[in-house]
Symmetry: C2
Subunit: 405 residues, 2 copies
């Protein structure tokens, strides 16, 4: 994305002044890690992007309220195993009680503690278990425990998702790190997962919020697993300023650098989420160019990446390009169907909206790779976009046929 960024290890604790932990509060079975705590030594500017679902979980409501009221945060408490969504009147007090426990244990203002939950919907949050585990979560805070934190936020995820980069902004070394969870219920317009990004950059709440919104449009909002948009999902960014750079202001070269770094972290995490879609065996990357506008390209790319029929065809390694053209056709994007060229990997499978003789064996090889690349040229303008999805497999059905049981 940008050549200035260097990928480093360390996830959310890679930036200066952040520590994290992951402990077991007994919300998941078999004493699995299920409670993560993220902490900044000094107050951090906070920004958030939230689900578009009309039904919004209590922790999301509380976190959004606190970020928009103060714009500052010191800690985020995250539990897996229970979403605290659709839990009626007790949802909000329960969410608040868990932040209060963190505030007390850390000696920080309760309004600077954010909260996120993921897991089953409609079951009251076992908040006493969380409160009981908070002292241990605080005691375990360290630079090293970013990995434990990224494990604690997993639900049906198979792998933890972390990423971090370093880049120079105004001769200061700035670090941006992140972790994410989410494999089902992944679809555009947020509401798609939990993701937490940390940075030591000096940047205000407002500018961070602007950058985050811009980045989401090309990263988390361009992945799709099953079209379901959840009640809980959010992306939170914290910037504690410990890099000591000059404050990043909009429309500057420094902003652009920071934006690129943030985009790289968010895109990497988004692709990890799509790759780890429930039951998925392969990441699908769909790039559309030649659209009348960027919006058309985004719609077109997401529609292909999200088509159940095409996703099943990828699983079966079937070069059924008609399903790609079909998904383009119902995407809402504007284009001329008789101009469309389609490639699966290096193999062109359609030209000018029509069939083409192609090497089926080679196409099958392309469909066996991970990621599977689809290139579409609409030849109707300059707009381009990339979306990510995953194949639809037997295991998606197995996982979602018995999630609660």
């Amino acid at each position: 994305m940008t050549t200035n960024c260097q990928v480093i290890s360390g996830g959310v604790t890679a930036p200066r002044g952040f520590s994290a932990s992951g402990v077991s509060a007994g919300l998941k079975k078999n004493n699995k890690l299920d409670l993560a705590l993220l902490f900044s030594e000094t107050p951090a500017a906070a920004a958030g992007v939230y689900t578009t679902n009309l039904v919004q979980a209590a922790p999301l409501v509380l976190t959004r309220q606190r970020i928009s009221a103060g714009g500052l945060a010191r800690a985020v408490i995250i539990n897996a195993g229970n979403a605290n969504a659709c839990t009626g009147a007790r949802g909000l007090p329960d969410a608040q009680a868990s932040t209060q426990a963190v505030a007390t244990a850390l000696g920080i203002p309760e309004e600077q503690v954010l909260v996120a939950s993921t897991g089953v919907i409609g079951v009251p949050l076992p908040v006493k278990k969380i409160i009981g585990a908070v002292p241990q979560a605080v005691a375990s805070l360290s630079k090293e425990n970013h990995a434990a934190a990224s494990q604690a936020i997993m639900t049906t995820d198979l792998v933890p998702k972390e990423y971090a980069v370093q880049l120079e902004i105004g001769e200061k070394l700035v670090t941006i790190g992140g972790m994410a969870k989410g494999s089902g219920m992944i679809h555009p317009n947020m509401a798609t997962m939990l993701a937490f990004v940390t940075t030591d950059a000096v940047i205000s709440h407002g500018v961070l919020q602007q950058a985050l919104k811009q980045v989401v449009d090309s990263s988390f909002n361009m992945i799709t697993v099953d079209g379901d948009t959840s009640t809980n999902d959010m992306l939170i960014a914290l910037a504690n300023g410990q890099a000591g750079n000059q404050e990043i202001l909009p429309a500057t070269a420094e902003y652009q650098l920071f934006y690129q770094g943030l985009l790289e972290v968010c895109t990497a995490l988004a692709k990890m989420i799509a790759r780890d879609g429930e039951g998925a065996t392969r990441l699908i990357e769909v790039t559309v160019k030649g659209a009348p506008s960027r919006q058309d390209a985004q719609r077109a790319a997401r529609s292909v990446a999200g088509s159940n029929l095409f996703k099943a065809a990828v699983f079966g390694k079937d070069a059924n390009w008609g399903r790609i053209l079909c998904a383009l056709g119902y995407s809402g994007a504007s284009f001329d169907p008789t101009k469309v060229d389609i490639f699966i990997g290096e193999v062109q499978v359609a030209k000018d909206g029509g069939a083409l003789e192609f090497d089926e064996d080679k196409a099958q090889v392309m469909l066996s790779q991970d990621p599977v690349h689809v290139f579409v040229n609409l030849k109707s303008g300059d707009g381009s976009a990339t979306a990510w999805g995953c194949d639809l497999t037997y295991d998606y059905v197995r996982i979602n046929g018995s999630y609660r049981t």
Copy 2:
């Protein structure tokens, strides 16, 4: 729906003056039936509703053109095994050639022959095979062969889909019959399947078109299998007037009777399509009431019926009502989440948007029935609607992982 309608056998040939046939043209493997012909002894008023996909197959383009130009038809030729979609410049002449063969063999004007195709996209139509089989299709036309016709239009359908009703309109016995195919790629806004409805009612092209559009809104546009909207699908209605009733005019009691009969046929066929969704084991019927408007109710009902997560939960008999509330939340319908009541069959599983103690065993029994009934009361108005879908199973993935091969 209406107590005046009597269900009868006979499908598309139940109304007076219609005959049909189903033969093998060699488009499907193993000499399966793949070419259906529908014929009216006398010119019939014709009406159609078509896919909303931007990519539209050649047969659809030709049929729409002919219905809008003349409003009359004598015959419909339908092939399965090849969609004649995305076949470039030769698509339209190929579609036309098959109608020409029918016109010649039957001695009727070519403009009064309609055409529909279903099957693989992007492969040129083997039109010579179709032309070669037309004489046999004409020779086989009979009252009895409605069943063969309904089999010939099947693709991945497991069962043929036919329905017919009789009702009195102005002291004349009017018959309405129909057949349909389609099990994947079923989603609202047409573009969802092939369906053919015949009637001996006296009704003009324009009034028939009006009734058909109205009926589709509550029947075919309320089913969903996988969210994919195809390039080929259409609903065609033919009315040959042989019942001898007084012409049905809009805003009359007779129109209302006819509308009810047409609605019953189309709803029955639509439900058969949803029930036979690829890999489905059970029909899901979602009724939403208490919405601010009918449109809100429709959005809400379709969103639940179409949620991959809920569909997989039905397959697994998991009373995961949070997924229902979640799908309501992202449907675009307007409502107050804290007022929502949800029932699975007779078991109330959520009240006022929150959890409720319920009998899990009884809920599992309700989820084992076919159809599975979901009732939602949004308690926010008077709008209501019903949508149909099916569970998401391993077999959906198997079928669509290797459709072409």
